[in-house]
Amino acid sequence: MASHAVATQHKQGLSNGMLGFILFLASEVMFFGGLFAAYFIARADAREWPPEYLLTPEQVASGVKLEVEFWLPFIATILLVLSSVTIQFAVFSIQRGNRSGLIRWTFVSIVLGLVFLVMQVYDYSQLHFGVGDTIYGTTFYTMTGFHGLHVAGGVIFMGIILARSLAGQFTAANHEAVEACSFYWHFVDVVWIALFTTLYIIP
């Protein structure tokens, strides 16, 4: 009777860690899917969009206006897409064993992510409606807010990658965390493109 040793990790293809991380991202997609579903159901219910007709006289009197500004978020979008490119450059760098390239491109991506967050907060401060001002305000702040939290999480993730790069922990053969981070950042980017299209362009 032959005996085998206990199974260890299969080496081909994605590592266990990456597979688990991709599954985690799939669950994130479902989370945003729930929010998008709520948004589109609200739009389908509404007579017009933005639903100005829902505003009470008091809300109108206090200066509530259901409209968003286009250009600032548009610039923020371009910066975020750019940061997706730069984090990919970071991955390419470490794949060739170029550690200083990894550090440089990760740093640039972090800066772009932070600028995006600052622009989003500034954009919030310029809007004339709040989270309580009809379903329009509720969906807008909920969706962009949760996305903003994910951007902040991504910036922290990249910060950890940067710290570990500075400590010299990544090599051409061993840089899985960098790839996971880039996956996450691309995901955040794609969600934003969908959000930007839905919230700023379709109306």
């Binding site: 990790q9 688990g20 985690f24 799939a26 899917g33 709520a38 219910d45 709040g130 989270v131």
Partner: protein, 536 residues
């Protein structure tokens, strides 16, 4: 075949309490899961007895309306979110790596995190009782009602989100473990059927739980930041909550029952001494139930007038097809077998006979016009309990009696087990069968009391007696467990002459699980070793 030395982590000696608190061993975490969930099972059970005490007689004033709303809400929440869903994670944690011949889960530390999120979430949910009242809007937390409820509901929302995170990352962990860490020779279609059901459950959890999290986030925003997701006055939609909630919660019903079916499918072949009839058909039926689970959510909402009734009615009927296939396969497994009736088998047979009723009485709700009559009545309460108690809880006990020798190295006493089974079986039917008749007669669920003129008193009293009988049935079980713990560990590797790899190693297994593994040529590697490989 050459044997490779298995890497064994060197564990520093720690005091046992720290050892349990800091463990990343899937077996210890599995045991922690089981203890925690059985604790919440007891809490939920006590709440159930309070509910039944209140309903025992007409016009009862044992508890007032507010207290009653909190009690039934917390009963359901504890049983669903803190008992049934995590108890499968407990069994899965202990058994899945052993069944596939792995040394641990794929991500041991994430596994520890999954577990340690549960006790604080449970305490958080129950802490509502200290802050002016626990959640009281039912486990379904329907809006707009839930928008106006007290702070206990906020604690409930946060708690359920935390539990959702726990089961989502747990699901990813199970999936990677089963995809990547199977023993040499164990193809996907040689994986034990319990693993298959855990895998499909994990897929459902991974895809459905985040949707619930999004709905809970919306409810929290509505309640605390003036949002209007579910408020028609602000352009929101009261039905939206139900759509998103049931998009999660119907798959969640399968999350709660599929691993139970897996346990039954492990137990029946062992005690009938035959392989599971139609292994592949069973796997496909499991996937079919999982897939259909995402297309039937609106059958909870026929009376809202806001859903496409024929479509959801048809899809709901269709669930009966893979479920029927499973039932026939279980019968095929017993057919011409050589059946003995040890405790795990008793509970497995109890599962078959009771889950059958839970399957059949569900079809009435698929016939949409009949659902108009029985929706939101005690008929539905009977249905959910025949599925989740007659199904899931009987399966939990089948699993406990079956794997107790493996997990704790001791065997539970058969005589006490039979008393436990008989009391639970009778008590269960007394408690829940009358609810069919009450529901048909129009008794709405979730009412705190009813008038004497309704004529519902006798049946309610029978139901209450049954509920207390279930409570009494737990006494022989607890005595049995305590007495087993007082005995020394004496169990051989494979006391049942079972089929799967967890019985290859010692009882309980060493930290690293296996010193060696046999070759796997079928879904019954140990049977093959005992009797030679059988023809397929």
């Amino acid at each position: 075949m050459t044997s490779i030395a298995i890497p064994r982590p060197a564990y520093a000696e720690r005091p046992w309490i720290l050892d349990w608190l800091m463990t990343v061993d899937h077996k210890k975490l599995g045991i922690l899961y089981l203890y925690t969930t059985m604790f919440f099972f007891a809490v939920g059970g006590i709440l159930a007895l309070l509910v039944r005490t209140q309903l025992a007689v007409a016009d009862n004033t044992f508890v007032n309306n507010d207290a009653y709303n909190q009690i039934f809400t917390m009963h359901a929440s504890a049983m669903l979110f803190l008992f049934i869903i995590p108890v499968w994670a407990g069994f899965g944690n202990y058994i899945v790596p052993l069944q596939i011949g792995a040394a641990d889960m794929a991500f041991p530390r994430i596994n520890a995190l999954s577990f340690w999120l549960i006790p604080p979430a449970g305490l958080l949910m129950f802490s509502g009782f200290l802050f002016g009242g626990a959640a009281d809007a039912g486990w379904t937390a329907y809006s707009p009602l839930a928008r106006g409820s007290g702070v206990g509901l906020d604690l409930w929302i946060i708690s359920v989100i935390i539990l959702g995170v726990s089961s989502t990352i747990g699901a990813a962990n199970f999936m990677v473990t089963m995809f990547r860490m199977r023993a040499p020779g164990m193809t996907m279609f040689r994986m034990p059927i319990f693993c298959w059901t855990m895998l499909v459950t994990a897929v459902l959890q991974l895809l459905a739980t985040p949707v619930l999290a999004s709905a809970l986030a919306m409810l929290y925003i509505d309640r605390n930041f003036g949002g209007s997701f579910f408020d028609p006055n602000g352009g929101g939609n009261a039905i939206l909550w139900q759509n998103i909630f049931w998009f999660y919660s119907h798959p969640a019903v399968y999350i709660m029952i599929l691993p139970g079916m897996g346990i039954i499918s492990e137990v029946l072949p062992v005690f009938a001494r035959k392989p599971l009839f139609g292994y592949k058909a069973f796997v496909f039926a499991t996937m079919g139930i999982g897939g259909l689970g995402f297309s039937v959510w609106a059958h909870h909402m026929f009376t809202t007038g806001a859903v496409l009734k024929p479509w959801f009615g048809f899809m709901t009927f269709m669930i009966g097809v893979p479920t029927g296939v499973k039932m026939f396969n279980w019968l095929g497994t017993l057919w011409r077998g050589s059946i003995t009736f040890e405790a795990p088998m008793l509970f497995a047979l109890g599962f078959l006979s009771m889950f059958l009723i839970g399957g059949i009485n569900g079809t009435f709700s698929a016939a949409v016009p009949v659902d108009f009559a029985i929706h939101d009545t005690y008929f539905v309460v009977a249905h959910i309990h025949y599925v989740l108690f007659g199904g899931a809880v009987f399966a939990v006990f089948a699993g406990l009696y079956y794997w107790f020798p493996k997990i704790w190295g001791r065997r539970l006493d058969e005589r006490l087990a039979r008393i436990h089974f008989a009391l639970q079986f009778i008590g269960f039917n007394l408690a829940f069968f009358p609810m069919h008749l009450l529901g048909l007669d129009g008794m709405p669920r979730r009412i705190a009391t009813y008038s004497e003129s309704s004529g519902w008193e006798t049946l309610n009293l029978i139901s209450t007696i049954g509920a207390f009988l279930i409570g009494v049935a737990m006494i022989p079980f607890i005595i049995n467990v305590v007495m087993a713990f007082l005995r020394p560990k004496d169990q051989p590797n494979d006391p049942w002459e079972a089929n799967t790899l967890e019985w290859w190693t010692t009882s309980p297994p060493p930290v690293h699980n296996f010193d060696s593994l046999p070759e796997v040529h079928s879904e019954r590697p140990l049977w093959d070793l005992r009797h030679g490989k059988t023809a397929h």
